[in-house]
């Protein structure tokens, strides 16, 4: 592996792409790698080839920490030690020795890792209000898209970042409790079922992981975050809009003002640690609602949706 040593001040930080896939596979299998994802560091160990393949592909532009003294989350994804290993291989996600989920078929190892990392952030990262929402930025202002699964949030998010919006996060929005800024974490975007071919057609240059079939969410694939979003992952953004999207086949895009009190409840219901934060959670969501214009949005056509959001960003 390359050493930065005395060139540190001149040479940029080492990224995953500074190494060959086989070097990454080797490191992952043994002591693991320290991956820097915005505000946190993941120590990841895995002996599963599909995981290392996806890491080399989707995390190519993320910095690898040479300083391995501290990681926020020590996780691994491996084959569980049991007889099934030889018949129906499985993958198990562990944070240290703890196993928050049941093992899944080995084909789903990489999505399981992404879900596991979401679990880590949403259960252990209470310096932020963690909202189940996509968040994107344009002209220095962030748009939060909270939504239950199936609302088309991730598809919309993927399309927006392919048309010039900056990806802050596709799944978990981190709102800083101190200054109400949105803190990016910018991991790959999770796409399901028919969204996968839609997004592939939407931009043919998009980088996508090999799909995993028959997960409990159907077919799942992850799209690589744009390089520019990853490079700007340290840049926070103030929240300006909260938009509750809803995919409605055959309808024209429609943006309606949403009651602030209802938006409050919508954000609170989608925030993993809202109740954990107690009075501070209430204050934080209140401030968030005060600072944002709140909308309900229904759409069926992505281009229409994006031009509507672009107009919003111009105002």
């Amino acid at each position: 592996m390359k050493k930065a040593s005395n060139l540190k001040s001149i040479e940029p930080r080492l990224n995953v792409s500074s190494f060959t896939p086989s070097e990454i596979t080797h490191a992952l299998k043994r002591e693991g790698i320290h991956l820097s994802v915005g505000t946190y560091t993941i120590h990841l160990q895995s002996a599963i080839p599909s995981v290392s393949e996806s890491i080399s592909l989707l995390y190519a532009d993320y910095p690898l920490n040479e300083d391995t003294s501290f990681a926020d989350f020590h996780v691994s994804i491996n084959h569980p030690r049991n007889v099934r290993r030889w018949i129906h291989p499985q993958a198990i996600f562990r944070i240290e020795t703890y196993e928050p989920f049941k093992p899944l078929p080995a084909d789903q190892a990489y999505p399981l890792l992404e879900w596991g990392l979401n679990w880590c952030v949403s259960t252990q990262y209470h310096r932020y209000l963690v909202v189940h929402a996509a968040v994107v930025e344009k002209n220095g202002r962030a748009m939060i898209l909270p939504a239950p699964p199936g609302s088309g949030k991730s598809t919309l998010c993927a399309a927006l970042v392919l048309r010039g919006w900056r990806l802050l996060s596709d799944e978990l929005t981190l709102v800083s409790l101190n200054d109400m800024q949105i803190v990016p974490m910018c991991r790959p975007i999770s796409l399901k079922n028919e969204s996968i071919p839609i997004i592939q057609k939407y931009d043919e240059s998009v980088t996508m992981s090999r799909p995993s079939f028959d997960t409990n969410k159907g077919t799942v694939a992850h799209m690589k975050a744009p390089k520019e979003s990853i490079q700007r992952v340290r840049e926070t953004a103030p929240p300006a809009w909260i938009v509750f999207p809803k995919y409605q086949p055959g309808t024209a895009a429609k943006l309606d003002k949403f009651s602030k009190a209802s938006a409050f409840m919508g954000v609170a219901a989608n925030a993993f640690n809202y109740s954990m934060l107690g009075a501070q959670g209430f204050q934080t969501v209140s401030k968030l609602i005060d600072r944002c214009d709140c909308y309900e949005f229904s759409y069926s056509n992505l281009d229409e949706a994006i031009s509507m959001f672009d107009r919003l960003a111009q105002q």
Partner: protein, 361 residues
């Protein structure tokens, strides 16, 4: 044994962390999280104004643990209010046990502690009325398996755990502090007579300081919940330090009270292991007097070997080859202490052949 340096050092002396490098912080946070002690360590650093000086990365995890702990204290207080409301019409004294008692009486042992459930003690004669009232107010019995029901009701010292339908909180209703079948038979009536009221709560009591310590010791050394053993030892340490300083005559009468309640053995272990492992300042005379509860020298040696391993956080950095077997032996021992042998065999057989129904693979 591999080194458990950071967590043991910080539990003995929170100030020790001021010299930690990032690698030691990394290990401390992992060990503490696994021992359910991250909140406790965070709050002891916060109390000493040491949190500010912690490097940003580990501090974010400590602060997160404080948030969780504070919310849990609020939740326990609310839960106690709800339980008392449900039991308002049952004319019976209710005594809070363990964590809920520490929260209600605002003891330092509550600071940064995590809670799995609320435990209450009611007279055996009132069990049915209490269960009925709780069911009327939204609690349901969680163990539906007929064997589990009988295990709790016939042989144990509690109703099967109850869970609230909407809040999903778990409540354990005890009628004594050890199972009916156990070899030690502390008289619950004596505990009730000595129980003391709690400021800010009506109709609620907690065990008197000495009884609270003895109960905590009995729970840890005779009740077999070893996954939290280091956490429980830290509870004991905190209670001993607090009452030793604030409850008049505490150290002088502790052993005598243990004799009255037939609990000298757990007290012996409690004082031995808190002072050994956590440097708890137990006066020499009390340590000496507690030897009345000591088993034979050989047994003490064996227990030292078992407990010093079981008292480590369940983290890979802290185990050696023997940790697993020490925990299994202690689990067996705690069952041995709770049930006479024929019952024990019946129970283990049942668990061995019936329980793995949930196991995947």
């Amino acid at each position: 044994m591999k080194s458990c340096d950071p967590i043991n050092r910080v539990l003995r002396d929170p100030g020790a962390c001021s010299s930690f490098n990032l690698r030691q912080w990394d290990l401390l946070i992992r060990q503490a999280r696994h021992a359910n002690l991250l909140g406790r360590i965070a709050s002891s650093l916060a109390e000493r104004q040491l949190l500010e000086a912690v490097p940003d990365k580990p501090r974010s995890h400590l602060e997160a643990a404080l948030v969780v702990a504070e919310r849990q204290v609020q939740a326990v207080q609310w839960e106690v209010k709800c339980i008392m409301q449900a039991l308002a019409d049952v004319d019976t004294p209710v005594i809070l046990l363990k964590g809920a008692a520490y929260v209600a009486s605002q003891l330092p042992a509550a600071n940064g502690r995590l809670f799995a459930d609320v435990d209450i003690l009611v007279p055996k004669s009132q069990l049915d009325a209490v269960e009925m009232a709780l069911k009327l107010h939204g609690w349901i019995t969680t163990h539906h398996d007929a064997y589990d029901q009988r295990y709790y009701r016939t042989w144990m010292h509690e109703l099967p755990p109850m869970q609230h339908l909407t809040r999903e909180t778990v409540l354990d209703v005890h009628h004594t502090i050890l199972p009916e079948t156990a070899r030690l038979r502390p008289d619950p009536q004596k505990l009730r007579e000595a129980a003391i009221p709690v400021d800010g709560f009506t109709n609620v009591k907690v065990l008197a300081p000495m009884d609270m310590v003895l109960h905590s010791a009995t729970h840890l050394f005779h009740d077999g919940e070893l996954e939290h053993s280091l956490r429980d030892l830290v509870d004991l340490d905190s209670l001993l330090r607090h009452f030793g300083k604030n409850a008049p005559g505490f150290w002088q009468t502790l052993v005598k009270r243990a004799q009255e309640l037939d609990l000298t053995r757990p007290l012996f272990y409690a004082l031995r292991y808190t002072s050994c492992i956590l440097d708890t300042p137990v006066p020499a005379e009390t340590l000496e007097a507690a030897k009345i509860g000591s088993p034979s020298k050989l047994t003490v040696k064996l227990m030292d070997a078992l407990f010093s391993r079981a008292m480590q956080p369940a983290h890979a950095s802290c185990g050696d080859l023997l940790t697993g077997s020490a925990c299994r032996l202690l689990f067996l021992r705690s069952h041995w202490l709770r049930m006479p042998p024929p019952l024990l065999i019946q129970h283990l057989l049942h668990k061995a052949f019936i329980s793995p129904r949930d196991t995947q693979y």
